[in-house]
Structures are given as structure tokens and as C-alpha cells.
């Protein structure tokens, strides 16, 4: 082989060119392909309802007995495949009625009006503006949606540590101690169930808002519940808050709950 200096330099130069040309050609080819087939895109439904912070106003004056509350709870629990477990320790609840002194501890006086003392108060996840459950979650399975303030659960990530249940001052979260499937009377095929070992709670019907529907409980309430954007001064919820005296659950703990009660 002729190994003069000139030949070696020529060889090195050509090799260098060949090595660098390959990725460039590849990149060009990829770009051409890219031009031919458009990339898939992902977007929201055009009908989706939007807000900065979803909020709810519950007019407790309209609820007198369990019978007034039942259809709302049923509406929620049936579409979300919430199981009905008789054992209190295993119970799963997204929205449920409770007594005034449980809903508003610290606000219950020694003597109360008979009406208030006995009637049911609907409670659910407050979708706090400063949610302690989100801070407690070690896997970010529960998170606050930055665009509309809903405190969501990502069941895929939940490891069932239950820190969030301890952190929530409202007891809004339930743990699946058992496989929930056998306890769902009628499964809504459009919505997933949960599995043993995850925590669950109200999701403000994020799946319904995404297609332009109001939450199931609001729809079933016939006007007793109002839903809207807390930061839109023109919204229905703001109008109600402006014109009525409202209270929130455990306001002093600083979680800024987004569910308001007209009493």
C-alpha cells in the first residue's frame, strides 16, 4: 500500500467527510418524511367548560331531609362507579350528607336552631386553593390542575400511602380497603372503577366539564347547587356569594376551600 503522507491525508479527509455526511443526510431525510405525514396533535374538546378556579355554592336552605340529598348523592355515586360498602370502616364517599356540627366544627353553638341541628349538610371535596393533600402526596398522584383549580387524583400513580387522607381536614377522601367491583350495583361502563389500595374522592366531574356538562350533583340538584368560576366577577357563584351570607368549612385552617354554603 502506498503510504505517502499525501495518501494518508486524502484518506483521512474522505473518511471525515463520510462520517459527518451520514447524520446530515439522515436528518434531511427525516425532515422530508416529517413534511409528508403531519404529526398527531392533542387538544381539548371545543365544548369544554373553562374557569380559573371552579367553585360551588350549596344553598343549604333548600335541603330539609335525607330525601332531598339522596338523589344528588346517587347521581354522583352511580356515574362514578362508587361502591356501596356497609362496613363504615370501608365506606367510599365522594359526596355525602352530614350534621351541622360535623360539617362546621367550631361554628356549632351550644344550642342550635332545631332546623339546622337536624337537617343534612352536603359535603364533598372542597377543591381547596391551597390543598394540603397535594403537598402530602409523595408521588404527585393528587395534584391541583393549574388551569382550573380542580384537585385531581391520578389513580395510576396512587400508591395507597394515605398521607393525603391524613392531610385533608375535611375527611373528603376514602381508601379502597377492598376490591370495589363486587360492591358496585350497576357499573357505568363509560367510567373506570378503582382498584384495591388506592384513595379516591370527588373530582368535580372533570370528565363532564371536559365535554361541556355541569357536574352530576349540580345537574341533579335542580338549582340548589350552583357551579361556576370563582374568579369571574360575573359568574353565578360570585353573584350568589355577593348577595348572600356564605360560610366555608374550617376556613381558619387556611386551605381556602372552594365550596361555599348559604345558611
Amino acid at each position: 500500500m502506498d503510504s505517502s503522507r499525501r495518501r494518508i491525508l486524502q484518506f483521512l479527509g474522505l473518511t471525515g467527510l463520510a462520517v459527518t455526511a451520514k447524520p446530515v443526510l439522515n436528518a434531511l431525510a427525516a425532515e422530508q418524511e416529517h413534511g409528508a405525514a403531519a404529526e398527531p396533535t392533542i387538544k381539548k374538546d371545543d365544548a369544554a367548560l373553562e374557569a380559573r378556579q371552579w367553585a360551588m355554592v350549596i344553598d343549604t336552605r333548600e335541603f330539609h331531609s335525607e330525601a332531598d340529598v339522596e338523589p344528588l348523592v346517587e347521581a354522583c355515586h352511580s356515574i362514578h362507579n362508587v361502591p356501596r360498602l356497609e362496613n363504615k370502616n370501608h365506606e367510599i364517599k365522594w359526596i355525602w350528607p352530614t350534621h351541622y356540627h360535623n360539617a362546621f366544627p367550631g361554628k356549632a353553638a351550644r344550642f342550635l336552631s332545631e332546623d339546622v341541628e337536624h337537617k343534612p349538610f352536603l359535603v364533598l371535596c372542597n377543591h381547596c386553593e391551597n390543598p394540603p393533600c397535594v403537598r402530602a402526596c409523595p408521588t404527585k398522584a393528587t395534584f391541583k390542575r393549574e388551569w382550573d383549580g380542580i384537585v385531581m387524583m391520578d389513580f395510576h400513580r396512587c400508591i395507597g400511602c394515605r398521607f393525603c387522607m391524613v392531610a385533608c381536614p375535611y375527611g373528603a377522601r376514602s381508601f379502597n380497603f377492598r376490591d370495589p367491583r363486587p360492591f358496585i350495583a350497576e357499573t357505568n361502563k363509560k367510567f373506570p372503577t378503582r382498584m384495591k389500595g388506592v384513595v379516591e374522592k370527588c373530582n368535580f366531574c372533570a370528565e363532564r366539564l371536559a365535554v361541556g356538562q355541569l357536574p352530576a350533583c349540580v345537574e341533579a340538584s335542580e338549582g340548589k347547587l350552583t357551579f361556576g368560576d370563582l374568579y369571574d366577577p360575573e359568574s353565578e357563584v360570585r353573584e350568589l356569594i355577593r348577595t348572600h351570607y356564605t360560610i366555608r368549612r374550617k376556613q381558619t385552617v387556611g386551605t381556602e376551600p372552594a365550596v361555599y354554603y348559604i345558611v
Binding site: A37, P40, T41, I42, K44, F143, R145
Partner: protein, 129 residues
């Protein structure tokens, strides 16, 4: 070196045991799984993406869908042809592929993968219980 024959015998026994799955199953490859398409899937002809893409990358696609829907609240997938799909395993995928046992399971069993999708997602959206 008087234990030479024991060592060699031991090595042979060891190799026979370790290679047991290979010589035992020699020439008997498990048959390739045959997936069955439902009439609806056949009529539709195309999936969300091309068949090759779906075959190779449906798990990445589903992972992307899960992330977009749950964490970003974005539920519509527009494929390269501009067609829109609701990103839902039970309501979109299983709408066409309503035969999970003959479609999903056959390959998954063959490849010995056990996705836990079905412990929450409804696997028979069409059937009435």
C-alpha cells in the same frame, strides 16, 4: 487432580439442568398468536394510527393518552390524517376491539406481559352485566 472426573461429571449435570428449557422445547416453538378483529374493526379498516405503528407502539400511545387526559385534561387526539378520537381505552379502543380475550389477551399472553389496565378500566363496555 484426582477429582477430575467428578468435576467434569458435575459440569455436565449442571449444563444439562441449566439448558433444560432449550433442549426440552427444541424444535417446538409456540405458535404465533392470531388476533381476531371484530366486524366493526374490520369495517373501519384503519385504527387510530397505522397497523404497524399500533402493533409496535400502542403501549407508548396509551401512555401518552393517559398522561394527556389525566394530567393535562386534553382528551381529543387528532391523528396524522386529521381524524379526531376521544382518548379513552374503554370508550374508544374497546369500542372497536370489543373482543379483549381474542385481541389483547392473545398477544399479551404470548409475550407474557400482564398490563393491569383492567383492574380499573372496564373491559367489556359493550356487554350488559
Amino acid at each position: 487432580m484426582k477429582d477430575k472426573k467428578f468435576i467434569i461429571l458435575g459440569l455436565i449435570v449442571f449444563l444439562v439442568i441449566v439448558l433444560f428449557p432449550f433442549w426440552y422445547m427444541r424444535g417446538k416453538a409456540a405458535p404465533k398468536p392470531e388476533v381476531v378483529l371484530t366486524e366493526k374493526a374490520l369495517a373501519a379498516k384503519v385504527c387510530v394510527r397505522s397497523t404497524e405503528f399500533m402493533r409496535a407502539e400502542h403501549m407508548q400511545l396509551l401512555d401518552l393518552w393517559r398522561h394527556s387526559v389525566v394530567r393535562n385534561g386534553e382528551r381529543i387526539y387528532v391523528n396524522p390524517d386529521g381524524k379526531q378520537y376521544n382518548m379513552s381505552l374503554s370508550n374508544t379502543c374497546l369500542d372497536c376491539h370489543s373482543n379483549k380475550a381474542e385481541f389483547c389477551d392473545r398477544c399479551h399472553n404470548y409475550a407474557s406481559v400482564r398490563p393491569y389496565c383492567w383492574s380499573c378500566h372496564i373491559e367489556n363496555p359493550k356487554e350488559s352485566t
